[in-house]
Amino acid sequence: MSEPTTVKKPGSLWARLHLRERIKDRDTAIYGVLLVVVLVWPMSTYYATGSSFLTSQAAHAGTWVLLAIGLNVVVGFAGLLDLGYAAFFAIGAYCYALFASFQLQSSPLHHAYHLPFWLMLFVGMFVAAAAGAILGFPTLRLRGDYLAIVTLGFGEIVPQLFLNLDQWTGGINAIGSIDQPSLPGWITGPWAGATSIAILPNFNFSYDPTAYYVLVVIMIIIAVVLVTNLHRSRLGRAWMAIREDEVAAAAMGINTVTTKLLAFSIGASFSGFAGAYYGASFGLVSPDSFLFVVSITVLVMVVLGGMGNITGVIVGAIAIYFVLNNVLVSLPTNAESFANAVGLGFITKTNGDWPGLAEEARRLQFLLYGLILVGMMLLRPQGLFPSRVREQELKHDAVVEEETVAEQVPAR
């Protein structure tokens, strides 16, 4: 019996939908580079600078990478604009902070809980996912701009809630001295510690940023594996269809409400995951760490990295983090030393209305940040590493535009 050739290789069909074979090469390369950098980073920066400051900074950047990966599910895959993403981050962080510090001692409960980090990591994740579902359920019938406004409101309400429930959360005083994670005994074992056969020497979260660095890298790897598989799954295709055309998606038999709810909830869960990590690594959780600017920064990372593409989003997150915490922060000193080096030392001094170069640079920081963002969007509107589908979308839009122009030109 002769069958069509495609029947023999049914697996390749769905693969084609995601254009996997073409994505593969570039993404593998990016993952490869990232992995090498991640592996050599702690050692090389320690030898170069003599401190583990850069490792600790990288560990902090990891939080943003996790957030960006999560928001990408909502914005990049499902096409739902979420402007209140920091709320879920806050929920994850507070979830850990409350149950792993002395905070609840002074609450009406009068009992402090010290639950293990490893448990709370997943509890934070589930609580955030549940919050995502609760927010999503009444609001996901809204579309586009309306949804964005409601999520914006949610993002404002949640930190306010943590601020005003000061009986429980300490309000403006924040929650401090949060427990550091510790590896369970069966991993460290009797051989850990001072003995010469220590397998995991110095792997102590209280002193060593490298421990957090390793932890966040593992968390990111887990997140990437999960999200990549989701993207290629049936659910991933449903998200794609909804992003393209919701009515058509419904006509294909996709339950649009459930599918969008899942995007919201899964996206939120990564944020909760990141929140628990943030609470532990920073040791302090305060309502003003989760303001609107956090949501927007994550959104910028996603858009700038390349919406819908996981590697792009990771690179975007690292790039924006670097610009915000490194380029902009060291700008005043760098500007000053540059001026001195080229013999313009006089502009570093205050003179009448002129506050001195360093101060001026400090004032212009965010103008520069804005210029960098605008510049990058002008140069690469599709993001640093856009998904192939998205690239095609932009290409298609250009083709359609050309065609409409061509139609308007009278034929000869």
């Binding site: 769905w14 269809a241 058509a248 294909m252 038999g253 589908v389």
Partner: protein
């Protein structure tokens, strides 16, 4: 019992009544045409059947089950699939990806692959353009793809909303030939058309819809020969 039965279905857009006690049926193996002028309620009828809208009164039965208040995704699973008004392709996906999306509710990969080939036999033009982005297809090809995509769900009833809209006369001819062919392969078709003449030629039976009510029904031939229909819809 008929495959699809609408009993005195009424529907509203806000306070405006779009359907007034519409009763119609589609039997196994039939092509049924629903004709009428702009705003008569043809598309509303389809939207009500496919669950994108819920009727305010009356009942809808499909395949011996009540689907009056069932959601669109469940209705697709029960076996009604439509090529919606305005085609609604995933314009940024390729032809093949659109077809795969049509098979979303199915999980039998070999069956899906075989059905893609079947659609390509039905529409050879699509096979040539398999990897092309669907938004760049011509109007006729887009219509073919919309029909092909609806067929990918292996529907027990195929609903087509204005398949000839905006197409060149030669393509209109092709589209209706294909409707006949799809029906000959065993799929009943509910066809909504403004091009009454063509639709009634293809259809076994037809319904005439006027301001939300069915005003006339009969076999395709009867309606084609009826004086009222000729005057109102066939321009004779």
């Amino acid at each position: 019992m008929s495959l699809l039965e609408l009993k005195e279905v009424s529907a509203f857009y806000g306070r405006i009544q779009a359907l007034r006690s519409v009763t119609l049926e589609v039997d196994q193996g039939e092509v049924v045409a629903l004709i009428g002028s702009n705003g008569a309620g043809k598309t509303t009828t389809l939207r009500t059947i496919s669950g994108l809208m819920h009727p305010a009164g009356g009942s809808i039965n499909f395949d011996t089950r009540d689907i009056t208040n069932t959601g669109p995704e469940t209705i697709v699973q029960r076996g009604i699939c439509q090529s919606p008004e305005g085609r609604r392709l995933f314009v940024r996906m390729s032809v093949q990806d659109n077809l795969l999306m049509g098979a979303y509710i199915r999980t039998d990969k070999p069956g899906i692959a075989a059905d893609i080939e079947r659609v390509f036999t039905l529409f050879p033009r699509l096979k040539e353009r398999r990897t092309q982005i669907s938004g760049t297809l011509s109007g006729g090809e887009q219509q073919m793809l919309a029909m092909g995509r609806a067929l990918m769900a292996r529907p027990k009833l195929l609903m087509l909303d204005e398949p000839s809209l905006g197409l060149a006369p030669i393509l209109v001819e092709t589209i209706f030939t294909i409707v006949r062919e799809i029906n000959a392969q065993g799929t009943p078709v509910l066809l909504v058309e403004q091009n009454a003449h063509k639709a009634l030629e293809v259809a076994h039976r037809g319904y005439v819809l006027e301001t939300g009510s069915i005003v006339k029904t009969g076999t395709g031939k009867e309606l084609l020969e009826s004086e009222d229909v000729q005057k109102a819809y066939l321009g004779m």
